[in-house]
């Protein structure tokens, strides 16, 4: 794409400024500071890519007037031209793309012509200033660095891969390190080996311990033999010691036996048997005595006499008195109370009869009809009367509501009528308003077109003036034109006003407006011919004149077309303010129309409502009349019913119901009175009967009472009952005593027999023991016991001696030895042997402990698993070390291979952008820097100087860095140009920091670039202009166009 020309309507301090056509490959814009070079650059960026989204009106505002924006004519790589017109407005500013034929195209065409590059790309790569050149933002731009940094070359994960490898490698082994896995395994291995060395000594220790065990076994055997000898000696001594006591015991016993008399025989257990028999005799004697006492008592009881024994013949009466005693008491006690209650009931009945009225007595009460049928009839009349009354009341209430509603409707209707009458009627209807609005829009468009053409006419006139040498004073020419213009404006205004206002204004407006327009045309054309008659023209004026004539013809044609369009309505073009006023007046008419329509609708609604409510009131009145008639009918029927039952016909159903209630009450009271009378009679009868029983018995058995005092009667009854019980008891005792006497005599006989038996047995025992009495018997028993015991002791002593010695002669030998023995000497010898044995025991114990320890230790040495475990661990660690080593080797090799591949790759496979940039950079620096490359997997650029030293951009001087960034841009421009539409390169003072030689080479690089891309250079330095000119000459191409600015 190339820029053909620029037209600034208003941008910065430029207004209505045109530059172009720009037909050469390189154009240098030369102007002093503040001439507007940067403004041009920014203008190009803005028109092509849009205003900033925010505060766009402050982006190079049109300080000198004119519409904020402008137009650029561009030509794509195929040569097709487009006009790109953009102005400040919403968003990035409305843009219009038109062809040279005037056809308007869509925004997508612009995007295509711009190679679908964004504003950022254009600014970063194609159109940049010195500041942008100095910044390293280029390398950070994501649109750029993807072109530079080997994207898609399969190495995006390279840095991470290298880090991972190194990390894994170092974890396995790191020279100089001590925390890696191989070191840790080796440390553990050394520890295992030291422990194995210790365990290896077990073998030597085994031999030593085995020899010692043998020695211990020999000593152990010797000590055991010695101990056995001591045991034997001690055994002998103990025998003699224990035999010595038995021997003494034997001798003593035999001595005592000689002193005790001999009793050959005596009853076994004699004393105990004697005591048992004595106890039996005593017990039998006691029981015999008790049986005798019992018999005596029974005889005494039999002889006792009982008074009033005859009462036992009246036992039945006594039982009746007993059973009726409580009832008699209650009856006698309650009778007065009952009588009092009867009196109360009778009084209540009398009152009720009095309330009912004269003539009411008990017979009348009983004769009154209280049936359910009558009650139902009363209830029926009661509810009928209630319903009829309620209905009437409801109807009357509805009538009142209907009359109120009707009054409200009448009032609302009146109010709506008044509003309609007072509101002015609109003059236009909806269709008329719509038509008027359309007219205004049409007029506005036409006006715009006329403005543009008029401007063109003005421009051409100015040009023509410049090319002619007119005799007419400039002021006069201008003056007549001014009058013509003013006349035209007023004429149009009158036409429009008449059209808008309509009515009588319309013809007036049309006539006046057309008159003024005619005057304006005359003035304008007469001025022109004067000019043409008197002016001396340049040869160049003819084409200008022709253009002017064409424009004027076009203007007239437009005006004529507008007149034709507007004539049915009497409209022609007006200015903007008139159009706005017309629009406003249409808005007012529209509002009036809406109000009028609304009020008319309200009035119609009110009238309808009034009609409805009048009808409702009439219906309510009819309902009230009907309800009144129904109530009268019910009341007549009720009165007839009362009269038939001789009840006052003024009674209401409620009153009759109350009368019924009183009659029911009276009947109830009458029933109560009768009941109480019966009960009192029954009580009195009970009392009489009970007294009749008491009286004869009391007389017969001397019990006093008063027949009229129920309390004495009750006391007498109690006394008779008590007397009966006493007699009964005494007679019973006497009967029991007879039976007792018989039993006691039988028992007495038995006890006598037991006593005799016991005494006989005791006599036999005493005789068997050789005694006559118990005391003597006991003495003999004691002597016999002593002898027996002594004989036993002698036998035991002999037995023990025999066990110690053995049977036969050995016993005699032992006895003999004992007879001759010194027991103390034996004891002393035993102590000595005891001590020696204890020493031997201690030594044996120690040897046994040592033997056990040796055996355990030997078993442990043989069975220990520690060494097996350590050997396994050692092998395991060795394997681990070798496995870690292998893993390390793999990673070290991987690292090395990646490094070699990376170097090779960087040497041979740089991206196209970098290759292009390298070529430019080498040329600009005259070979000082030979290589530019992007290290694989890194986001940076590196250059290599002629000494092979690699440097990053930050390590270069400012100028060289700018040259590098310029070269990268050239590379990007070339690379992008191979794929999409070429764009112009627009630069602003980018060579100022270059030394002359490099600046010239850079200029030549621009010249080379201009073979494919248009180059626009902005500068304030004349040296820069000369640079480009020289560069073009040296490159053998056409010199650049130099355009002065300011």
């Amino acid at each position: 794409m190339r820029i053909r020309d620029l037209h600034i309507d208003g941008f910065g301090h430029f207004a209505d400024r045109t530059v172009g056509p720009l037909d050469l490959p390189i154009t240098v814009f030369y102007g002093p500071n503040e001439a507007g070079k940067s403004t041009y650059l920014e203008f190009i960026r803005t028109v092509l890519f849009g205003f900033p989204q925010r505060l766009s009106n402050q982006h190079y505002p049109a300080l000198s007037g004119g519409r904020h924006g402008g137009r650029i004519t561009i030509a794509d790589d195929a040569g097709t031209q487009y006009a790109v017109q953009r102005a400040q407005g919403r968003g990035t500013g409305p843009v219009t793309i038109t062809t040279s034929a005037g056809e308007t195209l869509g925004d997508d065409v612009l995007a295509q012509v711009l190679g679908h590059h964004s504003k950022d790309v254009f600014q970063s790569i194609f159109a940049f200033t010195l500041d942008e050149l100095q910044s390293d933002d280029l390398l950070k731009d994501t649109n750029v660095n993807s072109q530079i940094y080997s994207a898609g070359m399969g190495a995006t994960t390279l840095p991470a891969a290298v880090r991972t490898l190194k990390s894994e490698k170092d974890d396995l082994f790191l020279r100089g390190g001590s925390k890696h896995q191989i070191a840790e395994a080796a440390n553990k291995l050394r520890d295992i080996e030291s422990r194995l060395a210790i365990v290896a000594n077990n073998a030597a220790e085994y031999g030593t311990l085995t020899a010692r065990l043998e020695q211990v076994e020999v000593e152990f055997q010797k000590l055991n033999d010695g101990r056995r000898e001591y045991e034997s000696q001690l055994d002998q001594q103990r025998r003699l010691e224990s035999a010595w006591d038995d021997w003494n015991d034997l001798v003593t016993t035999e001595q005592q036996l000689t002193e005790v008399p001999t009793i050959d025989d005596f009853p076994n257990d004699g004393v105990a048997r004697l005591e048992r028999l004595e106890e039996r005799v005593r017990a039998a004697t006691r029981e015999y005595d008790l049986a005798g006492e019992r018999a005596a008592q029974a005889e005494a009881a039999i002889r006792t006499q009982v008074e009033h024994e005859g009462i036992l013949n009246h036992t039945a009466d006594i039982r009746r008195l007993e059973r009726g005693r409580t009832s008699f008491d209650n009856s006698a006690h309650d009778l007065p109370e009952r009588v009092a209650e009867l009196t109360d009931h009778q009084s209540s009945l009398a009152r009720t009869l009095k309330e009912l009225g004269p003539g009411w007595d008990e017979a009348h009460l009983e004769g009154f009809d209280l049936s359910i049928a009558v009650r139902e009839e009363i209830s029926k009349y009661q509810s009928q009367l209630r319903e009829a009354t309620g209905e009437l009341s409801s109807r009357e209430s509805a009538l009142t509501q209907a009359e109120t509603a009707l009054a409200e409707a009448i009032e609302a209707e009146g109010k709506a009528e008044r509003e309609v009458e007072t509101t002015p009627k609109p003059s236009l209807d909806t269709n008329e308003i719509r038509q008027r609005r359309t007219l205004v829009r049409t007029v506005s468009l036409k006006l715009g077109q006329i403005d543009r053409i008029r401007q063109r006419v003005s421009d051409l006139r100015t040009q023509l003036d410049g090319l002619t040498n007119s005799a007419a004073p400039i002021g006069q020419k201008d003056k007549s034109r001014l009058v013509a213009a003013v006349s035209a404006v007023f004429g149009i205004g009158l036409l429009a006003g008449g059209a808008i206002l309509g009515g009588t204004a319309l013809p007036i407006g049309v006539v006046a407006g057309l008159a003024l327009l005619s005057i304006a045309v005359y003035l304008f054309t007469s001025g022109q011919s004067t000019e043409s008659a008197t002016a001396t023209e340049s040869p160049l004026a003819a084409p200008v004149r022709e253009s002017l004539a064409r424009a004027e013809a076009e203007l007239a044609e437009l005006r004529s077309a507008l007149e034709q369009e507007a004539s049915p309505f009497g409209l022609e073009s007006i200015d903007e303010q008139a159009l706005i006023a017309a629009e406003d007046s249409l808005d007012v008419e529209e509002a009036k129309l809406r109000d009028w329509t609304r009020l008319s609708e309200v009035l119609d609604g009110a009238k309808d409502l009034t009609k409805q409510r009048t009808s409702r009131r009439t219906e309510s009145r009819n309902a009230v009349d009907l309800a009144g008639q129904q109530l009268d009918a019910v009341q007549s029927a009720w009165q007839e019913w009362l009269q038939a039952r001789n009840i006052l016909d003024t009674f209401t159903p409620e009153t009759v119901a109350e009368l019924r209630g009183q009659v029911e009450l009276g009947r109830s009271q009458l029933a109560d009175v009768r009941s109480w009378r019966q009960r009192i009679e029954a009580i009195e009868k009970d009392v009489r009967e009970y007294t009749a029983i008491v009286e004869p018995l009391a007389v017969a058995f001397d019990v006093t009472f008063d027949v009229n005092d129920y309390r004495t009667v009750a006391a007498a009854a109690d006394r008779l009952v008590e007397l009966h019980e006493q007699v009964q008891q005494l007679v019973g005792l006497r009967t029991d005593a007879e039976a007792e006497l018989e039993d006691a005599e039988h028992q007495l006989e038995e006890r006598r027999t037991h006593l005799q038996v016991a005494e006989e047995e005791m006599g036999q025992l005493l005789e068997s023991g050789g005694s006559d009495d118990a005391e003597h018997f006991r003495k003999r028993a004691d002597l016999y016991g002593q002898r027996t015991e002594l004989l036993m002791r002698r036998r035991d002593a002999l037995g023990r001696l025999q066990r110690l010695s053995g049977p036969g002669e050995r016993l005699e030998s032992l006895q003999k030895t004992l007879h001759e023995t010194d027991i103390q000497a034996i004891r002393d010898d035993a102590l000595r042997v005891e001590e020696e044995r204890a020493s031997a025991d201690t030594a044996i114990q120690e040897l046994s402990t040592e033997r056990g320890s040796l055996q355990r230790e030997l078993a442990r040495l043989v069975d220990e698993e520690e060494s097996s475990k350590l050997r396994m661990e050692r092998n395991l660690l060795l394997e681990q070390i070798q496995a870690h080593a292998r893993e390390w080797v793999k990673r070290a090799l991987a690292e090395r291979l990646i490094e070699e591949a990376r170097k090779k790759f960087e040497r041979e496979r740089q991206p196209g952008v970098v290759r292009h940039a390298e070529k430019f950079f080498r040329e600009i620096t005259d070979g000082r820097y030979r290589q530019v490359y992007a290290p694989l997997g890194q986001q940076t650029i590196t250059v290599t100087d002629d000494a092979g030293r690699a440097k990053k951009p930050s390590q270069l001087s400012r100028g060289t860095r700018e040259q590098l960034f310029l070269s990268l841009r050239f590379g990007l421009v070339r690379e992008l140009g191979e794929r999409t539409e070429t764009l112009p390169v627009v630069v602003d003072e980018v060579l100022v920091n270059f030394d002359p030689a490099r600046a010239l080479r850079a200029a030549r690089a621009f010249v080379e670039l201009s073979e494919t891309n248009q180059v626009l250079v902005f500068t304030c330095h004349p040296t820069t202009v000369e640079l480009f000119q020289n560069a073009a000459v040296k490159s053998g191409v056409q010199e650049p166009e130099v355009i002065a600015i300011g």
Partner: protein, 441 residues
């Protein structure tokens, strides 16, 4: 057509009745020598079993001798490792021989490179029925009351490194009694074992011995079936991940005609297994876990009630590779496996899961490209054949293999040229996995 005659192997009892001689041929017991090749510490229950595995196998051998009522037990060297100085090993060995003595069974022992005659001994008393061969060939009759029935010719290593062909010392054995040669040797230069007492099969054949009871090679092998029978029984308990499959001894029956019947009897109590699981086609971790558990279950079934130590290798290219690369993923899998299988009895302990998987990656296609990864692949290929580049790569490893502290642990594992080629391939795989981790297939 005549009906086929069913030929069956005579059972052990019948053979016993028919045999002129019956013996058990064992070798390389390596009592109390630790397992090698383990890369992870075993849990307590497993470790205890591993410590005692060689002893348990030996006990099984003694039980076999007694139950089969053999005439003799022949052990061809490497009973234990003298360098270990294990009292337990020697004590247990003697205890076993004493059991045989009590059962009236003779034992013949020669010593090899691990237990040479000049090695350490605990000075234990061997039973009188056991004959231990010295540094020169001796001919000892199996049956003292029938010296003409069978004779054992045996020799032990006087020291560890015996590089002489010991068979030459035997000379030619004359025909007569059934002769057995008991020797610890490397026949025909097996490269997997040190070249001690090297000899050829022809040397053995020419010696005139009827049965060569060999030791030294841990994998059982019958080098010659008859005339003479030359046998390596292998070790009775595998102690290395490469020593997979059943391990045991040969029960040998010799009939009156000198025909030898070999009957292999497994004696091991713990068996090694190497399992492979390919991740191709697997989408989820659960798929992988299910497969892992399945292969473990299959391995247990094959082990016939024995405990097993398993090393699993994951291979193949698949989407699960990225999951496996995550920190802790392998440990998590290992823990899951062992939680289920390692605690039971008999146990199945997975000692290690090796990740040899790779992300879906078409090497052939990528190497044709022009990006960095293609360059790397081409460089890897070049490095295997470019001596200068190979030297540079090897030099880059010197930091480790020449380290003054660690070199001694690694001196036997310095990569050879063949190793380098394999290592370069593995390095390439690591590099590619890091660079193209998210590359679609």
């Amino acid at each position: 057509m005549p009906s086929a005659t069913l030929v069956t192997e005579p059972d052990s009892k019948v053979l016993r009745e028919m045999a002129r001689l019956r013996f058990v041929h064992a070798a390389d017991l390596h009592l109390d020598s630790p397992f090698t090749g383990l890369k992870a510490a075993a849990p307590e229950n497993v470790a205890k079993t591993l410590y005692g595995a060689t002893f348990a196998a030996y006990e099984n051998i003694i039980d076999l001798c007694i139950s089969e009522r053999v005439d003799a037990l022949l052990i061809a060297g490497d009973v234990y490792d003298s360098a270990d100085r294990s009292l337990r090993a020697q004590r247990k060995f003697v205890d076993g021989l004493e059991r045989l003595h009590d059962a009236g069974i003779r034992s013949f022992v020669c010593h090899g490179n691990h237990d040479p005659l000049n090695g350490w001994e605990a000075r234990l008393s061997y039973p009188s029925s056991c004959h231990r061969f010295g540094p020169e060939f001796e001919a000892v009759p199996v049956f003292e009351d029938e010296p003409g029935r069978a004779v054992v010719h045996g020799i032990s290593y006087p020291q560890r490194d015996v590089t002489e062909n010991l068979v030459r010392r035997l000379g030619k054995v004359e025909a007569g009694p059934f002769s057995i040669g008991l020797l610890h040797a490397n026949v025909d230069n097996d490269p997997n074992h040190p070249a001690y007492a090297p000899c050829t099969l022809d040397d053995l054949v020419q010696a005139g011995v009827d049965y060569w009871a060999l030791g030294h090679v841990h994998t059982r092998r019958v080098l010659n079936q008859q005339g003479p029978t030359v046998v390596y029984p292998g070790n009775p308990q595998g102690r290395h991940p490469n020593e997979t499959g059943p391990r045991g001894v040969y029960l040998v029956d010799v009939d009156d005609f000198g025909q030898v019947n070999l009957d292999f009897r497994p004696m091991d109590t713990v068996r090694w297994e190497r399992l492979n699981v390919n991740i191709v086609g697997m989408d989820t971790e659960q798929d992988l876990l299910d497969d892992l558990h399945q292969v473990m279950e299959d391995a247990i079934e094959r082990a016939e009630q024995r405990s097993i130590v398993v090393r699993i290798t994951l291979s193949g290219r698949g989407t699960l590779h990225s999951f496996l690369r995550r920190s802790g993923a392998m440990d998590s899998l290992l823990e899951d496996i062992n939680d289920r299988w390692a605690e039971q009895s008999p146990f199945a302990w997975c000692e290690r899961i090796e990740d040899e998987t790779a992300s879906p990656f078409n090497r052939q296609e990528r190497i044709e490209g022009s990006d960095f990864v293609a360059d790397l692949l081409r460089l890897c290929d070049q490095s295997k054949t470019d001596p200068e580049l190979l030297t540079q790569l090897r030099d880059s490893l010197s930091d480790l293999y020449d380290h003054r502290t660690f070199a001694r642990y690694l001196k036997d594992s310095v990569p050879s040229d063949n190793d380098m080629a394999v290592l370069i391939d593995e390095a390439e795989s690591i590099a590619v996995n890091l660079l193209v981790e998210d590359d679609p297939q």
